[in-house]
Symmetry: C2
Subunit: 119 residues, 2 copies
Amino acid sequence: MNIIEQFKDIKDYFSPKIIAEVNDQYVKIAKIKGEDIPWHNHENEDELFYILEGNLLMEVEKEANRTLKAGDVFVVPKGVNHRVSAKEECSIMLIETKSTKHTGEIKSPITKSIQEQSY
Amino acid sequence: MNIIEQFKDIKDYFSPKIIAEVNDQYVKIAKIKGEDIPWHNHENEDELFYILEGNLLMEVEKEANRTLKAGDVFVVPKGVNHRVSAKEECSIMLIETKSTKHTGEIKSPITKSIQEQSY
């Protein structure tokens, strides 16, 4: 599996794809452009963001906004409200527990099931 | 934490550094050059390799050798004997359970404790 190749097949924004399983975690890749992701949290699960290309605006409740750039790694601890967005296309890797719902308990037009996140 | 910056500080080969914790996993980065890693396995833990730069020779018991290149993601399942090496410097990311010993139960001159893997 090659991430660079895999990204060429991703046409939709906000649609994470599972590229690997390791222990109880999924590794996913996604493209982000726009502000469609609602504020949400994952009650019991940390979520790791790794920026491969572009800039990601990381909003975390009660914290100053961060602009993450290529090479940046950022972990949102479990239970913490957050939202990510990008003005221009941004390519990211995610590491999260298999049980994690990508928009938490919030249902939004972009919410995808695990089946929809699988190849 | 920026991985690109962090790699500049890594001078030693075969010396993984923990750059993030997510759930029960460590994310580590390492530089590999040479054949110092012994054959080993992790009885209860999968190990994910993600190649950032260079080529990594991945040897897995009873399988044909693989040369992993930038962007490649490869998971060694728990209990499977493996060994990695590189002719030229190779930069990798690892995802493994916090309890994973990086050379399994094999002690070798390159074996590092978790403390030695921490910043």
